[in-house]
């Protein structure tokens, strides 16, 4: 389902689904630590390792050759801070709807919550 959805988006936008998400979501929300590219993540110097459930180090599971195929359902490399930013905006939009002069105030309210 998600693979089909990403194909529809990439066809209508005439770009890779990963590029569409990067341009329309990551950059729009200033999610500067989010990418589909392993190389880009490695170049930041902040790309963490991954482990099995029993503690053995393993390579990143999704190799570049499958990245485009799986970009719909999987493959986003991100950070907690970026995902909180995404979560805020997705729930804020659904809950409050944008009104002039209130966007900055709402972000501060979220950051100040304990």
């Amino acid at each position: 389902m998600y693979i089909v959805g990403s194909y529809v988006v990439s066809t209508l936008s005439d770009m890779r689904f990963a590029d569409f998400v990067s341009n329309r979501v990551f950059k729009s929300l200033s999610m500067n630590s989010s990418t589909y590219s392993i190389d880009a993540a490695v170049n930041t110097g902040r790309f963490t390792s991954t482990w099995t459930s029993f503690g053995r180090l393993i390579p990143h599971w999704l190799q570049d050759e499958f990245a485009d195929l799986m970009a719909g359902p999987a493959g986003v490399i991100s950070s907690v801070e970026d995902l909180v930013r995404h979560l805020f905006w997705s729930t804020w939009y659904l809950t409050y709807r944008p009104r002039a002069g209130t966007m900055g105030q709402n972000i501060s309210e979220w950051r100040c919550r304990p």
Partner: protein, 217 residues
């Protein structure tokens, strides 16, 4: 799953929990529930609020249903008397070469060496079957004999030389489904893989399975 993103817009609470290890749903769910409890307690001024015990609101996905496959009623000769190792093909999944402990080809020997690196008990009497292939989610597959025509499938990756600084061999094989072989006129014509899609279907193996592999001669 080892990533959790959840929100309760009514309470103004959002949770993001990430773990860089496989199958950590339980601990990150517990962490998220504890964080939610503390956030709710701080909102109400109640310092004694305890975590919700019902994690259903943070659970995702539907329970997987086993695919019911009806084996053919005819020609179900015992697999023990037949050579089921060999080459099988599915248009979507490509070619799968099933190796037994008696397979002598160089490629099968390499596959068996991989499995022996993580299973020292693998003997020449084993009735299991082994695959090494290139796919997105696995590089090795093991068929463990269950009933007469059925094998339990385990799939994952074998690291015969370890990975990173730890060179001890290990594998990530885990239960992946069920294979049912079909025999016609004392010859294996193929096998079906079920238990992957979670969709329940009835009927002959080749129609009801999630994936049908045809024996190549």
């Amino acid at each position: 799953m080892s990533a959790l993103v959840a929100a309760d817009p009514g309470e103004g609470i959002g949770i993001v929990a990430l773990a860089n290890a496989d199958a950590k749903q339980s601990p990150i769910t517990n962490i998220a529930l504890l964080a939610v409890a503390k956030a709710l307690a701080s909102q109400t001024g109640n310092s004694t609020s305890s975590p919700p015990t019902n994690s259903s609101t943070l659970s995702r996905g539907n329970p997987r249903r086993r695919s019911r496959v009806t084996p053919r009623a005819e020609g179900t000769a015992s697999l023990h008397s037949l050579d089921i190792a060999g080459t099988y093909f599915n248009a979507g999944y490509g070619t799968a070469v099933l190796c037994s402990v008696h397979s002598s080809s160089p490629s099968c020997q390499n596959v068996l060496d991989d499995f022996r690196s993580v299973d020292k008990s693998l003997s020449s009497n084993s009735t299991d079957l082994f695959i090494s292939w290139i796919s997105m989610f696995s590089s090795h597959v093991r068929f463990t004999h269950s009933t007469d025509t059925q094998y339990i499938i385990s799939a994952g990756t074998i690291y015969p030389e370890g990975y990173g600084k730890n060179s001890t061999p290990f594998s990530t094989l885990e239960l992946a489904g069920l294979a049912t072989f079909v025999v016609e006129k004392e010859s294996v014509v193929g096998f079906g893989v079920s238990g992957i899609s979670g969709v329940e279907r009835l009927g002959p193996v080749e129609e009801a399975s999630d994936i049908w592999f045809v024996r190549q001669r």
